[in-house]
Amino acid sequence: MPYNICMVSDFFYPNVGGVESHLYQLSQRLSQRGHKVIIITHAYGNRTGVRYLTNGLKVYYVPTMVIYSSATFPTIYGFFPIFRNIVIRESIDIVHGHQAFSSLCHEAILHGKTMGLKACFTDHSLFGFADASSILTNKLLKFTLSDIDHVICVSHTSKENTVLRAALSPRHVSVIPNAVVASQFLPDPTAADPNYITVVVISRLVYRKGMDLLVAIIPRICAMHPKVKFIIGGDGPKRIDLEQMREKHLLHDRVELIGSVKHHDVRNVLIQGQIFLNTSLTEAFCIAIVEAACAGLLVVSTKVGGVPEVLPRHMINYAKPEEDDLVIAVSKAIHMIRYEVPKPLTFNEELKDKYSWKNVAERTEKVYDLISYSQTSPLIERLRRYYGCGFYAGKIFCMVMALDYLFWIFLEYVFPREAIEQAQPFPYKKYQSFDKSERYQTTNKVKPSLIDD
């Protein structure tokens, strides 16, 4: 049965990244399956209000204050009136939040549960337990996930991590991996330079992605193998270290730094190489290595986080996140390429069916089926769940939640439900059939109206 789903996250178009494209692809596939999907995110600069993306995907850019790197300032109750209005006018059943860093997501789940809707959360990253930011984020996550219907994680390692952080029962956590649009990453054997073996690295140049390891191993590999070149795409604070390393060892002709790469150019960079190197220190599910394998590259990666679950054994070489081990793994990969042991051009066929968005949407729909049959818990039960979060924290969380409930009653009185006008559903079928029919008429004729009676 078709659901009305609301995806909430701070991170969406025009920002580009893994979470954003995950949201976009999942919403497109779900709406193709017949559900109604809307997305709520915060305003990006001038881009506020209601916008429509491909195939009528409606996005609400809510004007809020942004504090750091696209995350909003968490005024817990400030978001409630507009969220309630949007949810009522679109008749939403399920609220689906993404990414633990996004405060909009936490607030939306809290308000959604207060209003009696079903809520679901997807986590895209791994967290530590030791440093200050992790401890605070984990407590916040415990708050949000005390009262949630289901959690989705992108790998089994991520599931273990989330279950430990938020003290959840593992029965309420599903694993649905990310996917890749394999047709965007077709291999091209002619694009690489035949005289060299090229190693491609594309990532954000930050500490978390193991850039220090990269700086250490590149000179050693270049010294050991004279016919090896490196192409490094991406930008970040560690770029200076890479450039210094290049200067120091005089590797200007062997190491190329191409700067940040737009998402649609990634394939063109990938096909120039035969090996893809990933040196991350922590990774929940590395979609970059799947993209590289689809494009016909042999992958060398550090064996951290969720990486071992991603690719079959013959497509990837593992290494410990240490300099020596990585050098051995890369050398092994170079030998394999030289003696043509793997057949990288077949990787795309194999991965096409394993990682498809259609599959992810089907599995997500099963999760929605599961949660829509569960019953809404009464207020006392919710208070009890929040109370169990900790000795002091439990009491604070209960107060926050109780105030949220009172605020909801107040809003129901001041802005009654009947006064809120229902939004017009987007005529998907009409739009798709119109697309294929004759070309758009020019202005002197009446344009087809998007509003049906």
């Binding site: 209000g49 209601v50 009136p81 507009i82 209005n85 006008e421 017009q424 009446v446 509003i451 009676d453």
Partner: protein, 175 residues
Amino acid sequence: MKQSQNTLTPLTEELSYRSLPGVREYVVHSNERIWTVTTIAIVSALGILSYTTKSIPWAKWVIGSIFVLLTWIKLNTVKEERILAIRNVGVQVKTIYLSGRSISHFVERSRICDIIIHEAITIWQVKFYMAIIVVKQDRMKVVFEHLLPPLNPTLITAYRGVRSMMFSDSDPESD
């Protein structure tokens, strides 16, 4: 069946229209009046207070400022908003206040890019609005800007009527 007389035909509580060949005007009223029960109550309370508190020196300033505030609110309350569409000439948007003052804005046919209905996010809610996109201007001209009537049937009727006047040769069916 065409309506040719120049009378104001009511469609709903809020919306009425007037039509002539090639001309359409849609009028949205609000139910505001100058002398409502609350206004009479406040004015008489102020009057009584101004006699009873004669001794307090600052009392007349407070009463005076409340009276000024009340007049200012009444002066800026919108009574009616209209949109007049004349084929091949243009569109005029008019706002009439309680005091009889009216502000109108005309956009000629050659400068109209398009007439649209879209949704806007205000602080508390999301509302539908109708607007005229004018050539070479950053801001659209919002129609029924203060009253912001609901989508069905007010905005849709006005939208269809004005669009058929501007962008087609046939008149809209009378509703």
